[in-house]
């Protein structure tokens, strides 16, 4: 028996990709294995850890809880799409580096995408709001102390960049 596949177009980080995937293929697997975008990591495959979070039309979504076929027609942003157009680190990436917000780096892409959406919605979060913003993502290395700092710093960098424009 041959598994039926579906031809889909996925728009990821502004680039159109074509793929033939079975209906059951998770978006996380399609990104990683069909498109080679391995920056999105899979930590639990049951939607709890948040490592696989990507932005779907700007909203954070767990790519392990979504089928690739249902992502067709939506704008997807992965960690690979968070750098500035000139290739420099984006605000959240830069803040994580400055604040030592990562150790092993496995959960990091999910935090980066989540915070990118978070500070777009709330550009000047308080520390409590920063905590709320990342309260759905698991990290086993950092104890979150520097991640919370990085949220506030990322918002600051983003505001400065906005002001420069």
């Amino acid at each position: 028996m041959t598994e039926q596949t579906h031809e889909i177009r996925l728009s990821v980080n502004g680039v159109e990709h074509e793929a033939a995937v079975p209906a059951r293929r998770l978006l996380s697997d399609a990104l990683r294995h069909d498109l080679g975008l391995t920056g999105t990591h899979v930590g639990c495959e049951h939607g709890v850890c948040g490592a696989c979070t990507v932005l779907v039309d700007g909203q954070p979504m767990r790519s392990c809880l979504m089928f690739a076929v249902s992502a067709a027609g939506h704008e997807i942003t992965t960690v690979e799409g968070l750098a500035r157009p000139d290739g420099e680190l984006g605000p959240v990436q830069q803040a994580f580096r400055e604040c030592h917000g990562l150790q092993c780096g496995f959960c990091t892409p999910g935090f980066l995408t989540t915070i990118t959406a978070g500070i777009a919605e709330n550009p000047d979060p308080t520390e409590d709001e920063a905590r709320d913003m990342v309260a759905g993502n698991l990290c086993r290395c950092t104890g979150y102390q520097n991640i919370v700092k990085a949220v506030c710093r990322a918002a600051e960098i983003a505001r400065e960049s906005e002001a420069v424009r």
């Binding site: 049951h46 580096r97 780096g105 104890g143």
Partner: protein, 796 residues
């Protein structure tokens, strides 16, 4: 002059690739690989009557399906018992694929290789296994009772009984003015790195070589195991550890069944093969830790000085003993912490249960030992009505008593001899950090608001940097770039940064010009691994020594080229110069001169022609020399170096709901000289969070049949940001180690060690009822209140 890098908060070089999503974890390599999946036992204890794989062969896209019958030679034998011990009289290990019997839910039974993981799992569902169920032994009580046996040939479920003493503890206790006994208990938790286990292998028929990428804490260990099991020469196997998504101990275990089956499949199928563990598999087929029960007898004087301490404990090591007795040996020795009891006796039984194997998890038996000792200190203070910090202080080893020999043998087979420390100074710091002396005022103020708070303190000593050795190779290229390799692996500790700091300082080169490679057996085939808070001490020291050798050679050649005396030279920003003159030569040019080539390839080699080095009457490469600007060295210490720390926590226990809130968390830590304080503090933060998890949330909920009921992140409660302290106050003490050239001690595990001890003390202090078992949930605390109602009333 280049700024000194050692001790600076240098940002990590790893981060750029990791925040861009361009890191390379094991599941990211070999996109063309076939995928493996493993059929795992659904039963905790059963005999395998038959396995029928016929239906799998109809599944399109399946390339192989194996059971134990398909394995040959060494692959068909049990997996190695990595660390034997004379007292481990009944060690048992599993097979790569189960033979005749399974001993825990999750044990590997069959192995399928298919086009992708989806198809491989479809195939697993078609394998039919007939089991004859056997009674499961779950938990320490059942193992001790031994009504049923895990292994028929292991009486009493006892794999090992080990005993150590220093002095006559029983006599000291009998003669002591005061005595107490305590019964204590700690439950299972687990490392839970965000990335599970994973292995990729590719067989190269042109070179007759195997290349293995694996998410491990020891590349060299896996290499030796794969070669031995597959019958290959060591020289045919390369093991590369790419970026690793956390380890915390579980990935030091090797070889996992999949670490052998994947390379074997790659060799047999002539295709790259990949296994990536999913989260449920990580819960039921990797490793856990922590579960122990303890009985303590202690005798002490009027000041609370421990005269005799006798500890008997029972350690649940799960279904097999691949990692020997390391965890309980550490518990039994590191239990002593910063204290010097008059006499000590310890005895433990390491017991089989039909549950996942137990191997080191960050702290590796120390959290339990610390819990036992600190609960004992608190009990003594309560009995005598003394301040808990004062009772600890009278028991401390004093700064002028180092090196201090505890009179025991440590996990590495060496003396348990502490090299340095200053526990009284540390206690003073932690008391100040948590405002110990004014806590009663705080308690009273909170009580006036109807709130109940408590303060806990826990002290520990951690043997770090265990041997036997690590090595390093430093190579200065003709570009002036410095390429450094050390064999141990990295799983988030920032080794590429910290080690480059050491090299930059020693060689006098720019930090940016140093590139560190870890865990690649092609670059450094002699190494041990990353565990026991040993990487900074062991590889840091080896790298320092190798850089020193390289520098000596560079100076020797430069002195020749510049016609100067070695003592008059200095290296700054990668340029060797005669101090106070314009005479100089870049290290890259020195590298060209170090290698008497016949051919000029580039500008660097052309530039080098202006210099004359070497004695024209001797061969171009002198008898005592080698070509190339390289240095290699190994560091092998006489014994471990002992870091220490103290944590204090203030909690509020909700008067109505028994919820436990963390109001303040303070840490004083001594790991000798700091290489990168930012990285050390990050390690402490992470350790504290795992300590919170172990104390308040995490446990493995096995039912009586051996099913793990909470094998997912939905049900196993790992702390989110909402569960950890809002801030962690950290102060450092730096008592350098005399055992290594940099004076450093390990820092990786420290943060987690005193967690359960400190929280138990704080909750006990708030509630005025004894806390003897951890972790503790609100409902357990609520139940405890009911059973200790009179005390609870008093404290209101």
């Amino acid at each position: 002059m280049t700024t000194k890098m050692m001790g600076a908060k240098v940002q990590r070089v790893e981060d750029d690739r990791l925040v861009r999503g361009t890191g390379r974890y094991v599941d990211d390599v070999a996109p063309d690989a076939l995928h493996a999946a493993v059929l795992r036992s659904p039963h905790a204890h059963a005999r395998i009557v038959s396995i029928d794989v016929d239906a799998v062969l109809d599944v399109e896209g399946v390339h192989a399906v194996w059971t134990h019958e398909d394995l040959e030679g060494a692959m068909a034998e049990p997996l190695p018992l990595l660390i034997p011990h004379p007292t481990l009289t009944h060690g048992r290990t599993q097979y790569a694929l189960a033979k005749d019997e399974v001993n825990h839910v999750g044990e590997a039974i069959a192995f399928v290789v298919a086009d992708d993981r989806y198809v491989a799992e479809d195939a697993l569902a078609r394998i039919v296994v007939e089991y004859e169920l056997l009674p499961a032994v779950v938990g320490i009580e059942a193992a001790r009772t031994a009504t049923h046996l895990v292994h028929d040939d292991v009486p009493g479920n006892v794999a090992a009984r080990m005993e150590q003493s220093n002095g006559d503890a029983a006599a000291a206790i009998a003669a002591a003015p005061h005595t107490l006994s305590l019964d204590l208990k700690i439950e299972r938790s687990a490392c839970m790195p965000m990335e599970g286990r994973g292995t990729v292998a590719r067989w190269d028929p042109d070179q007759n070589r195997l290349q293995v990428w694996t998410s491990t804490q020891t590349s060299t260990g896996v290499r030796a195991a794969v070669a031995a099991k597959l019958g290959l020469d060591l020289g045919q196997v390369d093991v590369i550890t790419p970026d690793v998504g956390g380890g915390f101990g579980v990935k030091i275990v090797h070889p996992w069944p999949e670490e052998l089956l994947v390379p074997l499949a790659a060799q047999r199928l002539g295709r790259a093969v990949k296994f990536t563990e999913d989260r449920r598999e990580h819960f039921i087929s990797s490793a856990h830790e922590r579960a122990q029960m303890h009985h303590v007898e202690v005798g002490f004087d009027d000041e609370g000085r421990v005269l005799g301490l006798d500890v008997r404990f029972w350690h649940d090591h799960g279904a097999y003993t691949p990692y020997g007795l390391i965890v309980p040996i550490i518990t039994s020795t590191q239990l002593l912490g910063p204290y010097k009891p008059g006499a000590y006796h310890v005895q433990f039984d390491s017991l089989y249960t039909n549950t996942v194997i137990v191997t080191p998890y960050r702290g590796a038996g120390r959290p339990q030992g610390c819990f036992v000792m600190e609960r004992t200190m608190d009990a003594i203070a309560a009995e005598l009505g003394k301040d808990r910090a004062d009772v600890r202080a009278v028991n401390f080893i004093q700064p002028d008593e180092f090196p201090y020999d505890q009179g025991l043998i440590f996990q590495d087979g060496r003396e348990l001899k502490y090299d340095s420390g200053d526990y009284p100074a540390m206690l003073a710091k932690i008391k100040e950090l948590v405002d110990w002396d004014h806590f009663e005022d705080f308690r009273a103020a909170k009580a006036a608001e109807g709130k109940r708070v408590g303060l806990g303190l826990a002290c520990y000593v951690e043997g770090t940097g265990v041997g036997p050795y690590e090595g390093a190779h430093v190579h200065i290229e003709t570009s002036g770039k410095v390429k450094v390799a050390t064999g141990l692996t990295s799983q988030g500790q920032g080794h590429q940064t910290a080690f480059a700091q050491i090299v930059a300082d020693e060689l006098g080169v720019r930090f940016e010009d140093v590139e560190i490679t870890t865990g690649d057996t092609r670059r450094m085939p002699y190494a041990v691994g990353t565990f026991a808070s040993r990487a900074a001490v062991m590889s840091g020291s080896a790298i320092h020594l190798a850089a020193k050798r390289t520098k000596e050679k560079a100076l020797r050649i430069a002195a020749d080229a510049l016609e100067a005396d070695v003592d008059d030279l200095e290296i700054v920003d990668g340029v060797v110069s005669v101090k106070g003159t314009d005479s100089s030569i870049p290290l890259g040019t020195v590298a060209v001169l170090s290698n008497p080539l016949r051919y000029a390839f580039d500008e660097a080699s052309k530039a080098a022609t202006q210099f004359n080095v070497g004695d024209p009457t001797k061969p171009p490469v002198a008898e005592d020399d080698e070509p190339g600007l390289e240095g290699k060295d190994f560091y092998s210490p006489p014994r471990s170096t002992f870091a220490s720390g103290m944590h204090a926590v203030i909690v509020e226990t909700d008067v109505e709901t028994a919820e436990i809130r963390i109001l303040k968390y303070a840490v004083v830590h001594d790991c000798g000289h700091l290489i990168n304080p930012m990285i050390v503090e990050g390690q402490i933060h992470g350790g504290v969070a795992q300590g919170v998890g172990g104390a308040l949330y995490e446990r493995m909920a096995y039912d009586e049949s051996g099913q793990l009921l909470n094998a997912s992140f939905m049900d196993f409660l790992m702390p989110y940001v909402t569960e950890v302290p809002a801030s962690i106050e950290i102060d450092h003490l730096e008592t350098p180690s005399p055992l290594n050239p940099l004076g450093i001690k390990g820092a990786g595990e420290a943060g987690v060690i005193p967690g359960s001890a400190a929280f138990a003390a704080a909750i006990e202090d708030a509630e005025r009822l004894p806390i003897t078992a951890m972790p503790i949930s609100p409902s357990e605390l609520f139940a405890l209140r009911a059973t200790h109602a009179p005390h609870a009333q008093e404290s209101k």
